[in-house]
């Protein structure tokens, strides 16, 4: 019996509780523990992906109790895909943290940092493997609480207010999720997702089900940062340490999106959300608004971190747009974009962190001439930005292409215009930065000096990923295509 579904979740949690113990003795030991735990998670994610591809959906009964009584872990292609994305980006972020944290955090915070980041990783992995709605709520709460603390951990000016704002809004989100879960439990008497999917059709005309759907939509909408529920995001992202922001933007908000997909497609089912209650068509418009509004805000930003934050809000919009179109091409594009955007945005935030680490610069105008100082990092930045704009043959182009095809397949040509327009807008703000970096003259006193290897390695890996997965699209599609099949059949 393959125990990877539970091991992938347990490993980061064991690491999270080992590091305070070791941290009491030697603070330096926390880093290797965190890297080891993240590495093991990645290993188990690969094993999961392998066994899902060969033998289909894995069901794991925790404690040996049969569902719906016990808690069931369900790993279908979408879960395995999310697991791989989460553990890959998290591992790179943990590796990146070493030098960054030593410089940017006050003394004595290292132990808490690595503990919290492992809790964050474990919570997210738990959300994507669980097959139980209440379990999903609990794990959402676990990774959210870790996230609030990580936003505030630097103790710098504005970090507490940013964290507090995030705490209040996201807590409203989790409360609504709990209410929605409770409503579904009242009417069906079960919390297991597969069981809910079987029992719900009998209550499709009930107001309780509509209420539950509304609560869950808004709750996960806040977690996903869909317009107009995105207001917590730019503040939190620009304050948190760069490796944490990279995880936030690459996977934390995607996990919210994943939960949304699970609730809509696995629990309520395709027929309910498109025909009976037109949630999916409504979500496409919300997503389109998210894409356009966030791109507009991104153009007007002067801080690099905030610009990237708004840009990542826009890209969450692409993911939701693709999935909510509820046609094969669109869903393929949306789910593929989870991975492609994670690579690009992770790389961009790592680069922004590298600039802060080297020079302390946060404003876009001060970036002039940095291309000559940290050339490899800035080249990686350019590559990742190209992927975000969607310049062929980068990875971002492929998923945007699928999204456009999906919009045409659904007969919603207006969304093709939205995607093109938003790509042009993102070209505006990314090209401005790239222009300043390489052709903005040189006004810095710093020597030409690359980053430490522990920071450079994750940046290079992600940048190469943006290029490689634009050409070898087949590799992620191996998991994405079965994921779309599973979702649309339900």
């Amino acid at each position: 019996m393959d125990h990877s579904p539970i091991l992938v979740v347990i490993t980061p949690f064991v690491g999270a509780y080992l590091s305070p113990l070791l941290g009491l003795w030697r603070e330096r030991l926390c880093y290797p523990v965190a890297v080891a735990a993240a590495l093991l998670s990645l290993f188990f994610s690969f094993r999961l992906a392998g066994s899902v591809l060969t033998s289909g959906t894995i069901r794991y009964w925790v404690g040996g109790w049969e569902p719906p009584w016990g808690i069931e872990l369900v790993v279908d292609p979408l879960s395995a895909f999310m697991c791989l994305t989460i553990s890959l980006v998290s591992l790179l972020a943990v590796i990146y943290s070493k030098n960054f944290i030593e410089k940017e955090l006050p003394r004595g915070k290292m132990t808490s940092y690595y503990t919290l980041i492992l809790l964050l990783i474990g919570g997210m992995l738990g959300v994507v493997v669980t097959g139980d709605l209440f379990n999903l709520f609990v794990l959402t709460e676990i990774f959210s609480v870790a996230a609030y603390a990580l936003v505030a951990i630097s103790g710098k000016r504005g970090s507490f207010i940013g964290s507090y704002r995030y705490l209040i809004l996201a807590s409203i989100g989790t409360s609504l999720i709990l209410l929605g879960t409770g409503y579904l439990y009242i009417i069906t008497g079960t919390l297991n997702m597969a069981d809910l999917a079987v029992r719900l059709p009998a209550f499709y005309d009930s107001w309780v089900v509509f209420g539950a759907l509304a609560f869950l939509l808004i709750g996960f909408g806040i977690k996903t940062a869909l317009f107009p529920l995105h207001t917590w995001l730019p503040g939190a992202y620009s304050i948190a340490p760069a490796p944490v922001t990279a995880i936030f933007s690459a996977v934390v908000s995607k996990v919210g999106g994943y939960s949304l997909i699970r609730v809509l497609f696995t629990i309520f089912g395709l027929e309910f959300i498109t025909d009976l209650v037109p949630v999916a068509p409504a979500l496409t418009w919300v997503a389109a608004a998210t894409i356009l509004v966030a791109s507009m805000f991104a153009i007007s930003q002067t801080s690099l971190m905030r610009m990237l934050a708004y840009s990542s809000v826009a890209h969450i919009g692409y993911v939701v747009l693709g999935v909510a179109l509820a046609v094969e091409m669109g869903m393929t594009g949306g789910i593929l974009h989870i991975f492609n955007h994670a690579l690009a945005t992770g790389c961009l935030f790592f680069c922004a962190g590298a600039v802060i680490y080297k020079t302390g610069i946060r404003h876009i105008d001060d970036l002039r001439g940095l291309g000559g100082k940290i050339p490899l990092t800035m080249a990686a930045f350019t590559l990742a930005a190209a992927s975000k704009v969607g310049i062929p043959p980068s990875a971002g182009f492929v998923s945007k292409f699928y999204l456009s095809l999906g919009a045409l397949e659904a007969g919603e040509w207006i969304f093709v215009i939205v995607i093109l327009l938003a790509s042009l807008m993102s070209a505006v703000f990314y090209l401005r930065v790239i222009n300043l970096i390489f052709f903005g003259g040189d006004k810095h006193e710093v020597r030409r000096d690359e980053l430490p290897l522990s920071m450079l390695f994750p940046i290079i890996i992600l940048a190469l990923g943006c290029a490689v997965f634009g050409i070898f699209v087949g590799i992620p599609l191996q998991l994405v295509e079965p994921a779309v099949m599973v979702l649309s059949e339900l």
């Binding site: 019996m1 125990h3 539970i6 091991l7 347990i10 949690f13 064991v14 509780y17 080992l18 305070p20 113990l21 009491l24 794991y60 009964w61 925790v62 404690g63 040996g64 006050p106 004595g108 915070k109 103790g155």
Partner: protein, 140 residues
Amino acid sequence: MTTIVIKTIARVLVPFLQLFGFYIIVHGPVSPGGGFQGGVIVGASMILLALSYDLSSAEDRASHKVRIIMDSTGALLFAGIGLLCLLVGGVFLEYGIIPLPMAPAEVRGLMILLVGVAIGIHIMALAASLFLHLAEEHDT
């Protein structure tokens, strides 16, 4: 304002509170209660001590370091028992499969007790920390 009345009552109450907490923890397998509930009661007794006397008298009995060690140990014990079941060929937390010279039902009861104790250790440190950590002096 703490008075002699409050202090005396707290002094008498704290040992009984803790004993009651431990009772709830070890009776988890057979009666309502368990690790979480018992742990919260024991943790609350430390909060009572901090409120009625002062912070340092609670800190003397449960220092920051001790609480971190208890917190981590409890959680790791829980995970360890779960992983032990994997080693002997069961799934996570499938206690019944652990080969002990007892009836499977008794093995289950024993393991539920151990898991309860692990959770109890974890929660008593956590519940006390929720209050004490906020009250402690911090550098930053």
